[in-house]
């Protein structure tokens, strides 16, 4: 269960107080009447599903009722930052890639990671016991 920092309440609260509301930073086309069916379909139905850093919108539904954004690693489940509506993330997949290319030691990737770099193909398989 996540421990989420609400940027409005300014404190960590339990996941039970929040609802996930899908991908963040979706832009509703400004002039829908002059948007093609394909563009409108993209806006309605198509979402990113990245392995790694992802930006999601959440709402503090039984708290302050405010919507805000989360930068989350979908592999480690680490929440890297939360920020209010209207702001842009400081951490993105591109920024992390750049840091790696420049040889900057990145954070260990989160609450759960390390096994994320498997030593063999077999280790890479999703498993359960």
């Amino acid at each position: 269960m996540f421990h989420i920092f609400c940027p409005y309440c300014q404190e960590h609260r339990e996941e039970e107080e929040f609802h996930a509301r899908g991908q963040a930073h979706l832009m509703r086309p400004a002039d829908p009447d002059n948007t093609s069916d394909e563009e409108w379909g993209d806006y309605l139905f198509f979402r990113n599903n990245p392995r790694g850093i992802h930006h999601e919108m959440w709402v503090h539904s039984v708290g302050c009722r405010k919507f805000f954004n989360i930068t989350r690693n979908t592999v480690t489940y680490d929440i890297l930052e939360t920020y209010p509506m209207g702001e842009q993330p400081t951490i993105t997949a591109d920024s992390e890639k750049l840091r790696k290319e420049q040889g900057v030691q990145t954070a260990d990737g989160g609450w759960q990671t390390v096994g994320a770099q498997p030593e063999s193909k077999a280790l890479n398989e999703e498993t359960s016991s």
Partner: protein, 1013 residues
């Protein structure tokens, strides 16, 4: 039966407290401080279960959570049954009753053993895999025999008499395991000032120190345990949770603990003298730092017949002797790959029984413990291993031979040693389970010959689980971990704590030994068991690898290795080692296993806590609820609300049925006056200078011209053009509106409004607030509604001054009210809103004055019939998220020419929403007036078509109408609006095919005159 295996001195049992217990119907005695397992061993009980697949006799193997065989059904009564209890973790109490989980009808002579004698032909390796790949009927054939023969525990047949609860904690440092590392960690963190929770799954805290041969500061290690626990118990910042298993380690350092509070004392909490207290508790801990000090599990060796009762883990033998004063046999052969296991032989000999030999796989073992054994006169056979156990229902001998581990062959002559117990040790596996719950993968440590926890943010592993096997180093490691965890939490004053002095021992290195070679191949030798609970053999794993299953995860699914309730705690690494040998790879190349919560089974009671019975889900009552109860209402759940469904009367001594009551209620509204408690409708107060603009964007219809005092019905779509909610919104003032929503949609609509305001249009000045509970709503409807209401209000209710779709402030029965002239019945109707706590007064006044009009209370069922007769939709019943306002024929409520591109508008011109053959909303009139169609029934155009028929629509609402005197239905039908008057067919599962005519969905008063009177 006497406790023939109990020795007179030593152990941590209280011999003055004799406890009676029953196992498989037989009565035994044990002592306070025993576990069920130690008491069974004390009484010489060899067989505790029959194995799952081959029905072989099985005895106790281990002394802790890793026990695969001694899994019992606990409970003296039908209502106190607990399945899947490990006897090794169950404290003994007076009157305890337990039975074997497997082994119908009894473990001694099992009718299922014919399965075993068929040599596994019944369920060969890959049985599950192949069975599930086959048509499902295969499994149906086998299932009943398997379930009957090899029970998997029985659910209680009566309600649990006990209560359970949950507790929520925040702490700085959560220490899991109270062995040497955990105790030192807790002490270090606690002294630094951190809030510490220390939990341990055993009956007593102390872990390996409780059966240790070591001294601390020159005295028994248990002394240091006592002192440390005393100090910790005295600290206000420390919570000690014994008998508490950390069962799950979840995201962001969230740990779930299962505390057994009275299960070691009696069958129920009440019987234990804890009336009103919980039997078990689930602690939900959000930890700043976790110190994982879960220790190790010893690995058994895999050799032929290693499942016979009398084959045990070396450490378990020591544990039973030193902690419980129980020697589980007379003549011991120890087979080992390491020094540490020698303790078992020394303990056995000191207990006064015969150690036949220690068989060591290493060439030149030379550590201090090895010397001590030799000095004590114990025969040590090197370069060798036990290759096979002999015996029928108990070990009677051990076949021992020299082995070449490199070539995996037996090299010498085989000797048979007479013995009744074979203890084995193949090394120690860190208990990495919890760390892998988080998703991290354990890392193979070649020096250690085991997996250690992967790195987890916020977790420090210490002691055995981190690969520290030396006691002094384990204590130091624990203290360091506790100090570091406290520092991470900002307790910078953390200092070194003084640790007790330990003896340093010289140890010769362990060798890698998992499966022991046999003279015959694995496939021809007697069975060599890897997973005792699931009857997985070395041969089975070999077969799996031959059939091409190369990843351990595939091998596991093929053989069911590790799929038991013990999650293969003993067998997984041996299984991986065997697969690795067969595939000629290293263990980490074959893979690793990922363990899932829960570490050991958790009772449903603890998971559920107090969320059962009355507290299962919150209930919402309207302000008028008590009146409804007193007037005999039957209730219906609508979301969390309890709504009156109908109000049956007793006529001639007989209570009306639903249909009788509904027919009467419907006619009362159509012919006289009825009243409905509509308080549950969602109500959202909307204010701000941009409120009107906002409404125009979220509703499909127009709001610019709505004047104060007027009401409008609105449709709300998602941006895909599909209807999501409907309701009326009233203009209370230029900047002030009151929106109503469906009962079930209230919370969702409020969040929807917030979503669009906060994310798309933050520039609009508008505010939303739920006022659902603030107002009670009473709908007075029917031709006599005006006459009745006029007796209670001074307001002018004249049809010209108070028109349909008007609202006014007024007083009703001297209570300030808002009256809305809106109708969901098609009749003249007034919806009276008053502050909720005045509602009962107003309601009763209406009935006082309503008696002469035969004012009739009605419930949701009548409301549904009345609105359906008028063709009014219910969102979620007549719609399902794929229906547009156009599909419903509600073009009149769509403002295509509004300036702002409102939500849903663009999607209504997508090709799919413009299709002419979309399902459209229509009425259905069954040809037989007595037929009431089934809601959800499919509609076809050709009633004689063979199956599969072309489904062209479905029935969404269907009732009998007392006013029309026939059944009628609402439906969605492809291209339905162009098919008025046509006949459609509704085929039922019993072969009946109903005929119905497509008609307008408005069955009564199509011109809408009655609501305007």
């Amino acid at each position: 039966m006497t406790q023939s295996n109990r020795i007179d001195a030593g152990g941590r049992v209280d011999r003055s407290q004799v406890l009676e217990f029953t196992f498989n119907g037989q009565r035994y005695q044990g002592f306070k401080g025993d576990t069920l397992a130690s008491a069974l061993l004390a009484n010489g009980v060899n067989i505790v279960n029959r194995s799952f697949k081959y029905s072989r006799a099985r005895g106790i193997v281990a002394a802790g959570a890793e026990e695969p065989n001694a899994v019992v059904q606990l409970g003296a009564r039908a209502d106190t049954q607990v399945p899947n209890v490990r006897a090794t973790q169950q404290g003994l109490y007076n009157g305890l009753v337990a039975r074997s989980t497997n082994g119908w009808p009894n473990v001694q002579r099992d009718v299922m053993s014919w399965v075993g004698r068929l040599g596994g032909g019944f369920m060969p390796p890959g049985f599950y895999y192949k069975t599930f790949m086959a048509p499902a009927s295969m499994w149906m054939t086998y299932e009943k025999y398997i379930r009957m023969g090899a029970g998997l525990g029985r659910a209680p047949t009566e309600s649990d008499p006990d209560i359970y609860d949950h507790m929520h904690h925040h702490c700085d440092v959560m220490v899991i395991g109270a062995g040497p590392a955990g105790l030192a960690a807790a002490l270090a963190a606690a002294r630094a000032g951190a809030r510490v929770i220390l939990c341990d799954e055993q009956e007593e805290m102390g872990g390996s120190l409780l059966d240790s041969r070591e001294t601390l500061d020159g005295v028994a290690a248990t002394r240091w345990v006592e002192q440390t626990l005393k100090e910790l118990a005295g600290l206000a910042n420390v919570t000690l949770l014994p008998r508490t298993t950390a069962n799950g380690y979840h995201d962001h350092n969230f740990v779930t603990l299962h505390e057994r509070r009275t299960e070691h004392l009696a069958d129920t909490a009440r019987a234990a003298g804890f009336s009103g207290q919980s039997r078990a508790r689930l602690h939900r801990v959000r930890a700043g730092q976790v110190v994982l000090a879960s220790g190790t599990h010893e690995r058994p060796l895999v050799y032929a017949n290693n499942d016979l009762p009398g084959n045990m883990l070396a450490g378990a033998v020591s544990n039973y002797i030193r902690r419980y004063a129980v020697v589980p046999g007379n003549r011991l052969v120890l087979s080992t790959s390491n020094d540490h296991a020698y303790r078992a032989a020394l303990d056995w000999q000191e207990a006064g029984r015969k150690v036949v030999a220690i068989v060591d796989a290493r060439a030149n073992p030379d550590g201090d413990l090895v010397r001590q054994a030799r000095d004590s006169g114990i025969r040590v056979i090197t370069n060798s291993a036990v290759i096979e156990a002999r015996g029928h229902q108990r070990v009677t001998g051990a076949r021992v031979s020299a082995v070449d581990l490199e070539r995996f062959v037996v090299t010498g002559k085989v000797d048979e040693l007479e013995c009744d117990t074979i203890a084995t040790s193949g090394g120690y596996s860190p208990v990495v389970h919890l760390s892998s719950h988080t998703g991290t993968r354990p890392q193979w440590d070649e020096a250690l010959l085991g997996f250690v926890p992967g790195k987890v943010k916020g977790m420090i592993s210490a002691g055995g689980v981190a690969g520290q096997f030396d006691l002094g180093e384990t204590l130091a490691d624990g203290a360091r971990a506790g100090r570091q965890a406290a520092q991470e939490r900002g307790f910078s004053g953390a200092q070194d704590i003084a640790l007790p002095a330990t003896r340093t021992r010289r140890e010769s290195p362990a060798c890698a030994l998992y499966q022991v070679p046999h003279e015959k191949s694995a496939l021809r030798a007697p069975k060599q068991f890897v997973d005792l609970q699931n009857d997985v053999t070395a041969a089975g794993i070999e077969v799996a690898t031959r059939e091409g299953f190369e990843s351990i995860e595939h091998v596991k699914r093929y053989t069911a290795l590790g799929f038991g309730t013990d999650q293969g705690k003993l067998g997984n690494i041996n299984g991986m080692a065997i697969a690795a040998r067969c595939l000629d790879r290293s263990i980490p190349e074959v893979g690793t296993t990922v363990f899932r919560p829960n570490y050991t089974p958790v009772t449903f009671g603890a998971i559920v806590g107090r969320h059962c019975g009355e507290l299962f889900d919150p209930k919402r009552y309207t302000a008028l609820h008590q009146w409804h109860v007193e007037n005999g209402a039957e209730f219906e759940d609508v979301g969390q609300w309890k709504r009156p469904w109908y109000f049956p009367r007793t006529v001639n001594g007989k209570k009306e049925t639903l249909h009788e009551a509904v027919n009467r209620e419907c006619l009362a509204v159509r012919e006289g006056v009825g009243i409905l408690d509509a308080s549950t409708l969602g109500k959202i107060d909307i204010q701000g200078p941009d409120a009107r603009e906002f409404l125009g964007r979220v509703y499909t219809n127009k709001w610019a011209q709505l004047a104060p005092g007027r009401v409008r019905y609105g449709l709300m779509c998602k941006d895909d053009g599909m209807l999501m909610d409907d309701g009326t919104t009233s203009c209370l003032g230029d900047n002030h509106f009151l929106m109503t929503t469906t009962t079930g949609g209230a919370a969702g609509v409020l969040e929807w409004l917030e979503l669009w305001h906060q994310t798309e249009w933050p520039e609009l000045q508008v505010y939303f607030n739920s006022v659902t509970d603030h107002w009670a709503t009473m709908t007075v409807t029917g031709p006599d509604a005006r006459k009745l209401l006029s007796e209670l209000t001074d307001m002018d209710l004249d049809r010209e001054s108070f028109k349909f779709m008007d609202w006014r402030d007024a007083t009703v029965a001297e209570v300030p009210a808002r009256i809305f002239r809106i109708s969901f019945t098609g009749e003249l109707a007034f919806e009276i809103n008053v502050q909720a706590n005045y509602a009962l007064h107003v309601w009763k006044k209406l009935f006082e004055h309503g008696e002469k009009y035969n004012l009739t209370p009605y419930g949701t069922e009548t409301m549904h019939v009345l609105r359906a007769e008028k063709g009014l939709i219910i969102v979620g019943q007549d719609t399902d998220g794929s229906v547009t306002p156009e599909d419903l024929g509600m073009q009149w409520a769509i403002g295509y020419d509004k300036p702002f591109p409102w939500i849903g508008k663009r999607a209504l011109s997508r090709p799919d929403t413009l299709r002419g053959d979309r399902k459209q909303f229509v009425g259905l009139k069954p040809k037989d007036p007595n037929v009431v169609l089934e809601e959800g029934a499919q509609i076809v155009f050709d009633g004689k078509q063979s199956i599969p028929m072309d489904m062209k629509g479905h029935v969404t609402s269907s009732y009998y109408s007392a006013s029309l005197k026939h059944g009628f239905a609402l439906a969605v039908v492809m291209g339905g609006r162009d098919r008025m008057g046509q006949t459609v067919y509704i085929p039922m599962t019993d072969g009946t095919v109903y005929e119905a005519e497509i008609v307008s969905p408005v069955f009564i008063d199509p011109k809408g005159e009655r609501q305007h009177v």
